[in-house]
Amino acid sequence: MGAIYRREIGAFFTSSIAYVFLSVFYIITGFFFFLVNLGNSSADLSFVCLTMFIISILLIPLLTMRLFSEEKKQRTEQGLLTAPVPLTSIVLGKYFAALTVYAIAASIMFLYGVMLSLFGTVAWLTLLSNFIALLFVGAAFIAVGLFISALTENQVVAAIGGVASLLAFLLVHFAASLVGNYASLGWLQSILNFLSFYSRYYEFTCGIFNLSSVLFFVSVAVLFNFFTVRVFEKRRWS
């Protein structure tokens, strides 16, 4: 796992994907930080956190798109799959490399906190819980993106597929509020609410640390990494 992790981290930076990802992430969240917090002299970071959530949906596929699709296209996966390592460690090596770059992006939050603390008091505990929530949401999203990358040998398809799937996770939230208009569909609404990444994440931006949501995000991450391993097992047997 270590070898693959280190190679991927290196590849993120030599291919400049990491730089693109980080700079877009910082520019957009920085823009809202200056506009909302510095402009209005507000110490409440919840809006910036929400933008981080939304742009994660659009940017995470950028991190995950090439991880497996490019291996397949360049036929380098043959080297990995015939090396004496379990499939799980191949998948996790790539997974944690993407998660590391994502964590570097998300930790900009602490810089925003420090800047705010120069002007007023910052709710550090809320900020920390926000960071943790963002990290776990990312962990789930990256697993989904990685899974989609394993399905195709075309990076662009992997990227578009990734954005589409992550948007679907967001749409679950709107579907839930739509269904809420019909009393008879209460059961459906509770299912959709359970699956809604957005409402689960929103709680954290309000300062509520919900452990069951953390577990939910972790389960999604584990599940999709498991699916990715299955994709390779299935392909070998086909």
Partner: protein, 320 residues
């Protein structure tokens, strides 16, 4: 040692590999000869655990590749048809990655140095792989297979796309590696297999057509009795003189290559080398030989010959 028992692979309805069995002893170089689409790569991919077999068994040093893949894979160095190279890495960082990936226990610096030297790529160790020539890329591919010094080497068409000089270099290297490794090498070039291998398996349409030592195969497919001669002299007289030789099956002269110079296609009885006789005739009659060569046997000829040979033997068996 590699043992392959009744290995079969179906892609949908298509049988890419059909009931192949063979063993490779320690320290042996086995050649896998067959035209494109014969099933060489498919077999090698099953031997290395890249794809699973539909049925059958592969044992690498006694370990089943599907039952304990990690242990079996640790014994194998594999150079696939397309070398698994990360183009954006330097040769050195790529081989370091492979070293870590294989969890190699050897001393890193000296082992990498040895492999770089052996494959003659130490002069490009800091270059990006994408900027290397085809020959160098192939050697980097071979180097990654050698990392960790695995006892078994599986090399899928290692000389394809190389120029003649590079081909010779790679063949020499493989021959050298064969001294202390068990090697399986695939190719669609007969002479390459004859040059490098101790034993040859000929595979066509996914089945084994022949499994023999390289020397015995060479005898079988020897073409010294079929030659082409370009000779200056009177055509009818030459034809008569050649026909009068012992053991000539046929001779014909269909092409006047230069004014007064015809090309003679001669086939003698198998095993009879008539090149010296032709020379003697020319000397005695003061004809000039302007060219003499044995007819190359194509893979197609070989299959025809080998499968026909089997029919003959089958016929004998039935007569007993």
């Amino acid at each position: 040692m590699i043992e392959v028992r009744n290995l079969t692979k179906h892609y949908g309805d298509k049988k890419a590999v059909n009931d192949i069995s063979f063993t490779v002893e320690d320290g042996e170089i086995l050649g896998f000869l067959g035209p494109n689409g014969a099933g060489k790569s498919t077999t090698m991919n099953m031997l290395t655990g890249y794809i699973s077999s539909t049925s059958g068994q592969v044992l690498i040093n006694g370990t089943d590749i599907l039952e304990d893949p990690i242990k079996a894979k640790a014994c194998i160095g594999y150079l696939p048809e397309i070398p698994p190279l990360y183009l954006d890495m330097t040769v050195k960082s790529y081989l370091n990655f492979v070293f870590d990936l294989k969890k190699c226990k050897l001393p890193r610096r000296s082992h990498l140095r040895d492999v770089l030297k052996l494959c003659k790529i130490d002069d490009v160790e800091n270059r990006l792989i994408k900027n290397l020539s085809k020959g160098y890329k192939q050697r980097v591919g071979l180097a990654q297979a050698l990392i960790g010094n695995p006892p078994v080497l599986i090399l899928d068409e290692p000389t394809v796309g190389l120029d003649p000089k590079q081909m010779v270099e790679i063949r020499t290297l493989i021959k050298k590696l064969g001294k202390n490794h068990t090697v399986i090498l695939s190719s669609h070039i007969l002479s390459e297999i004859q040059m490098v291998c101790d034993r040859v398996i000929i595979i066509n349409h996914g089945v084994v057509a022949a499994n023999d030592t390289a020397t015995r195969l060479s005898e079988k497919v020897s073409t010294d009795h079929r030659i082409i001669v370009r000779m200056e002299g009177e055509r009818v007289a030459i034809l008569q003189a050649i026909r009068a030789l012992d053991g000539i099956k046929y001779v014909r002269a269909d092409m006047e290559r230069e004014p007064g110079i015809w090309e003679y296609e001669i086939e003698a009885e198998p095993g009879r080398d008539i090149r010296r006789d032709i020379n003697r005739l020319a000397r005695e009659n003061e004809w000039n030989i302007l060219m003499l060569k044995t007819m190359e046997m194509t893979l197609e000829d070989i299959f025809l010959k080998i499968t026909m040979g089997e029919h003959i033997e089958l016929g004998k068996g039935a007569a007993k």
